[in-house]
Subunit: 264 residues, 2 copies
Amino acid sequence: MNKNIPNITKPCVILVDPTQDGNIGSAARAMANFSLVDLRLVRPKETWNTYFCRQMASGANHILKGVKVFESIEESIADLQRVYATSARRRNMIKPMLSAGQAGKEIASLGAKDIKVGFLFGTEKSGLTNEEITLSDAVVYIPLSSSHASLNLAQAVLLLAYEWYQFTLKFPQQGRFLRKGKATFASKEDFEGYISHLEKELDLANFWRVQEKKPEMLAGLRNIFQRCDPTKQEVRTLRGVISALVYHRWRDVIDPGTRKIRDK
Amino acid sequence: MNKNIPNITKPCVILVDPTQDGNIGSAARAMANFSLVDLRLVRPKETWNTYFCRQMASGANHILKGVKVFESIEESIADLQRVYATSARRRNMIKPMLSAGQAGKEIASLGAKDIKVGFLFGTEKSGLTNEEITLSDAVVYIPLSSSHASLNLAQAVLLLAYEWYQFTLKFPQQGRFLRKGKATFASKEDFEGYISHLEKELDLANFWRVQEKKPEMLAGLRNIFQRCDPTKQEVRTLRGVISALVYHRWRDVIDPGTRKIRDK
């Protein structure tokens, strides 16, 4: 049992008529990434468990070893209490339709009640038929760009496993950016200009003392200023600060305009 | 411009030291799935644009053609205003850290303000170094199962592109399951038993009239009962209804016990 997530019943993944052994391996890897274990195949090729399949599984061999093979979808889902069909296109059907996120949330909460759930994925080329979808309780729809709406099978498994996993975790919500109103954020070029300016001046100031320490110290400084999240104007101000410290501090000795030592 | 999503500035994807041409192709495909176009490579192999790369891109050749190659991360992000570093593990750094979902939401909203954003992905084997991460404004963390915490590069691109895309859409929120209290939901076996029972009786009743219409009519019925979302007990009740209609309706003529026509 994975220590990351509570002891809930996990959904299984059912691939219907998978034609490419590499996809089966990749799907297993994606499942392992999100702690799923139960992979079922309906009418795979006899030779699905190839070297390429295991290579794509990239260490998720425990999942391949546990694969159950079925002759029909009906047999593959017989022990389940909920089946979610997946589709990359909208279907003209009177069925509850959910986003992947909604499905993930729902299935995580069903799992907490020990309800056995399966995700049904259709064959690579065409997905599930409408008739196959009628075997399910709901359709999970993954919205895709209309100009490139073909999602690889293992990618679809990954997205649903990912969404489910998010709802099994209590991911700490972190604080976010400071508000800046309508000010323009500095570009990276602006920001790097500032960091280089600072670094150059600190070099001249022998700020790092031990040269080996410089990368770490500079990274530390950089992180500090990144957290400032400066606007364009603020970067100008920060650079002004450097100049002020370097030159204006000594205005009696150095001319801030010419940056030369004043004639006595 | 994709008709699915509003006219917002889209994030770019930056792959640092990518070593596998197949991953570059797969990343391009994942980007295309979610309407992203701007792919940048930092120090790729000279021969990255191979046949295998284009094969994995699966039609996303417009992205490969537009790839920009850079010698350093700094150059690759010079025109950007926000950079999000990605990491499959937590970093011991004082940096804002976000989940992929939080990042997707934030970046979609920055895009609506025409702020240019990039996702930074490290090399396949080890991800971004801490020094590379300091170039970013925030770290996006993808929580993974601790026992299988290696995510393929293109899969990571997919997940972040997917999350961003979700926040650019107004996906219709659909109604969900009826509440059932503590009742046990029927298994698929129970449910199929009911559907077969119904189908058999409807066959005998010549319900379908035209045999060619049967599959569609049966699918329609199935969808109706699926939406009922029955408990185990409710399935028993439904089967009782069939029996009642078939036999008890005719109790004067047929013996409901033996299901035989009564002797006069």
